[in-house]
Amino acid sequence: MADDHALWELIRTRDASAFDSFYRENALRLQAFLRQLVGSRQAAEDVMQETFAQMWQRPNGFEPNRGTLRGYLYGIGRKRAAEWWRKQRPQNSGSENHADECVAKTEIDSMVADVLRRLPEEQRTLLWLREVEGQSYAELAQILEIPVGTVRSRLFAAREQLRSIWKGSEQGGKEGA
């Protein structure tokens, strides 16, 4: 946390070198996360770049005593991804689950990847950030803007949903074989 505070001060004072280090450390992982939200690699890269650009050009909003810089970054990324969807499909602005679009764009031959994309966006976000990124409950609460106490129950719900669909897919695969 203390390091976050120092880094944030450097970013706020327009230290390009410090920000570039932060970018290099986090960009690819953020991009992988965003790919789970927007579907395509190109769109994920675009949103990732927008996320860092926003942070660089408008360095405000982060409060070191209320979360980590990484959590703040992923929170911005998630919002930019939602904006990306709104621009893509303005008539479906209320939709939070873009699984169909994502499935069509899948490039990875993996059952779990396919199943993950069928989950609602929040569950996908929770599982990816917890299982792949290893983010803490506090960081997840910061990113999703929910109480820390809610994170555990929602993670459980997400795992159950993933497990249910996964088992259904396995069953379907066996029946179809």
């Binding site: 327009r14 390009a16 920000f19 570039d20 970018y23 290099r24 960009a27 690819l28 991009q31 992988a32 790919r35 690699r41 890269e45 770049q49 860092f52 660089w56 050009q57 490039e107 990875i108 993996s110 059952m111 779990v112 990847a113 993950l116 599982l127 990816w128 917890r130 299982e131 792949v132 409950y137 555990r152 129950s153 993670l155 459980f156 795992r159 159950e160 993933l162 497990r163 996964w166």
Partner: protein
Amino acid sequence: MKCDEAAEFISALCDGERIPREAAEHVGTCGACRARLTEYAEMGAELRRVASLDAADELRPVAWRREKKISSSWWQKGWGTMRIPKIAFASMLVVIVALGSGFAMLKARPLTPGKALVLTINYPQKSLMRCSLSISNFKVSRDDSVPSCGFFTNANPGVVGVFFRILTTDGERFELGVRAKVAPTADSVSEEVENLPDTPYWFEPGEKLEIAFPGLGPVTVTGEVLDHMPSLLTSNSNNAGLDPEEGELRVVSPALLRGKELVFDLEGASATYHADGCVFFYTPGRGRYVLSLSPVEGAVQGEIRQSRIHFEMDRESYVLLTGAPIARNDHIWILHQPDYRPSHESGASVDSDTYPFMGGADLGHILGQAPAKD
């Protein structure tokens, strides 16, 4: 404890959390719950495996520079409310040279809420500038942070910079602080103007204020109060609308796209020019783009579609996006000078090589400048 009750704690176990003793005992003895724990763990491992497969291995390098921010701020403030940052002065030098023949370059985004005082400055050679000052946002002090607006032009020889700001108000009258300086280069103007005291003048909208500036001669200042900071000012006070005049080339807040790639984004910057003039953009590393409504040797022809210009260059498609209609013409010529660098010879400083800028100028003047080679 039943399996359903223990299930959420199994999820928590996967996250490295401690769970209640009763739940831990149940999971230790229940085959179904142990199976669930295994499944959760397998799902997590599979997600990490997929993430490893899908990980991009190349990161596009990005230059995190302040240049865009500074450029944008400068133009916003340059003709709207300006604090005269030294760095901004350095970036405007090419424009200064262009001023010599009827330059018209104005910009004011709605930076501050509330009323604005719009000044119209008529100076010799029948040239005219307009700039706006926030009435509600000025500080009653004389420190350098008081917003200003102003202009540069040729003083022959040298460059003169003239800046206005509001010092106080008295009813409908404004006490303007005016600073003007002639210097060999704009760099030196920027330094010297910063250290100048304000010369106070009382000014009332609707009346004329005559001021004699060194190197420039007599200047007439008129003004009006608007209920907002104008989003766009042009040098022609009769044409403040969206529709460009005959022969006018107007570029507002431009962004250039090559295919889907952003070449530059000069948000907040604007330039207009009439007659045989041009509008140009310079961005470090990209050189200079010159736009003209007349054919230019070496330029490609583009198509104007309201606030966009479409053109092909080196077998690639470009679109210049702007915030307002560009001209009445259907066609425009775009000259790219990739080797162009600002130089003292062209009126620019070495410092300005670091910052993007745009402006309007006489076409002959711009084409007469030999591009600097690396």
